[in-house]
């Protein structure tokens, strides 16, 4: 009796071992559906990897969360949905795109006529966006990340009236990289995606559009 039980146990153990082996094998060597590629990376078995336009295609093995400013509608949920408080999403300034306007749509409330840094004119609720005079007629705007809560008010203003140089981004030194981002779940425009860990930015206007274009192409295909 004990021998038979022992034998059955061993048999089951072997079965489970085989199942685990099969599972990990299937996971490691699974075929990617190249046509529905939405990220365009992490492609160890993709036949298109050689011709893939993504420079990081072959190296990326891990992903982090990032939000695509092109899809963002500045609903303000980044400020409230993140597991971190304050949120790990912050306004990020792509200086290369900025027009250095005196009248900044991201800085001033709509309808402001006197352009001073007085509180009643500022769009930012926490005074995180700083304005500094450079030379006639240019002003530099910088984001104080310690104060920024990621509400996206300035981003909305900038993309509506300006060049769209202020953009929301996940700041990865603050991000927990949760298994499933809790903002992504709340994001109304599905702007949050997993991106390659070695190319964690989706900022526009810094010359990394190639990656995003490829991402978009994938979407169309899908």
């Amino acid at each position: 009796m004990p021998n038979r039980r022992e034998f059955l146990n061993t048999l089951m153990r072997g079965g489970i071992l085989a199942a685990l082996g099969l599972l990990s094998g299937a996971l490691l060597f699974r075929k990617r559906d190249e046509n529905s590629c939405s990220t365009g990376f992490a492609c160890n078995s993709c036949s298109k990897s050689k011709s893939c336009s993504l420079p990081a295609a072959l190296e990326a093995r891990q992903t982090v969360w990032q939000l695509d400013p092109a899809k963002c509608i500045q609903c303000g949920r980044c400020a409230t949905s993140c597991v971190m408080s304050p949120s790990a999403v912050k306004c990020t300034h792509a200086y290369a795109m900025c027009g250095y306007c005196d009248l900044c749509g991201g800085y001033f409330k709509p309808g402001t006529k006197t352009l001073t840094t007085a509180a009643e004119h500022q769009l930012c609720p926490t005074n995180a966006l700083k304005r500094k005079f450079i030379e006639e007629p240019f002003f530099e705007y910088t984001v104080d990340e310690e104060l920024c809560i990621g509400c996206g008010k300035c981003v909305k203003g900038c993309s509506a009236f300006g060049n769209g140089s202020l953009q929301l981004q996940v700041r990865h030194h603050r991000c927990e990289n949760c298994n499933e981002c809790s903002i992504a779940r709340k994001c109304p425009s599905q702007a949050f995606t997993r991106v390659p860990a070695n190319q964690p930015s989706l900022l526009k206007g810094l010359g990394n559009e190639r990656m995003q274009d490829a991402g978009k192409k994938g979407e169309v295909n899908a």
């Binding site: 153990r13 685990l20 299937a26 400013p69 027009g99 749509g105 060049n163 109304p188 930015s201």
Partner: protein
Amino acid sequence: MRKTNLVPALLAFTTLFPKTVFAIQRFPKPEFESAYTQPQTQIPLPRGEFMAYLDVAVLLIALSVVTWLVLKKRSRLWVFAMSIFSLGYFGFYREGCVCSIGAIQNVSLALFDSTFVLPLSVILFFILPLLFTLFFGRTFCAAVCPFGAIQDLFAFKPQALGSRLNTVLGIIPYLYLGLAVLFAATGTDFIICRYDPFVGIFRFTASFGMFLFTGILLLSGIFIARPYCRFLCPYGVLLNWTSRFSRSHLTITPKECIQCRLCENSCPYDAIDIPVTTKSPESSPVMVKKMMMMVLIVPVLVIAFGYAGSRMQDTLAGVDPRVKLAKEVLSGMRDAGSGMRDAGYKMQDAGYKMQDAGYKMRDAGYKMRDAGYKMRDESFEIKAFKASGKTESQVYSEASAVLKKFYIGGWLFGGFIGLAIALMIGGRMLPVYRADYVTNKGRCFSCARCVDYCPVKS
């Protein structure tokens, strides 16, 4: 010259209604005359990729050490010490993210969505504890899993729960596992992570509701030891079943049981099986008959639960954001002043009858309907949908696809629950004989508490 650029801009700013068009070089790049240089946009990098493999290494080492401590050293104190280390590393340092329990979802999603990236480290986090359990019992639960470790700390006054409650509550992990896999495989949600009660502690931040749940779990954990592990943990289901076939499991006594009964109440988790030397009061022909019945009932149960699961299709799929959006668009389009539209219809009908004069009335009806459309407040979801340029039918067909997945998933999920319950009942019909006090290989967390109670020393 440059200043003049600002005049039309100012006009636009103050008078026009803003229309969001993303990233357009509306204003030219400035040409600075002073020595000003533009600052660089700082892009912080995430944690290095190799660090993930450090985590795997720590996991492997912790598993090996704990296994050795449990099986060879048989020391509760050292196991406890290891659990503090794991709590520190996987809990407070890694903040609970990358965890074997959550990895279930990544693995499920990866099996169904070929574009989902599944790093090797996550596969290892999923497989390694199972492998160890398959050979040495649930040493992962003993002192590697930070969830177990933190609950173990609070098990001050464990009470025996009673076999009935233990059994019935034991169904919950199967439900949780089934739901977690269903939601993950359909790409809907990672509910294990969403309702993870302990990460809030590890990160010192969570929503109020989550903290409430954590508090309740930990406080109840004073009397019901490790409530999450026993009555919720979905990974525990897998560990339970692998552990049942483990090769060398922790034993209470190092040599031979002397039936002293000292260990009988030592286990806070009700995982010690008492000796059974008597025969079942039910005669064996009756038992055999019941077993036969059971075998016949299994498919019935599977189908019944599967049917129930498939009927839950709409409710379950309602969690999915794609389905939610489709519902919102659908109801929006329906309510969107449907009253107004009906009024429009009526006026239109009247209009047909009165021919020429009626055309004007019908137009008025349309105007009212359009006003109805505008009147409705738009949610962010609807706004985002409009901004995305997707058509309504695209949204509907996406949602239909998800719904279809949930129909099949509902059957499988229900069938799984039916099978689990059938097995649980059937398992309690098998003949039993054991002479000694032994650990229940499925439920035992290998915490090594009972070892201290055994007077027999090697």
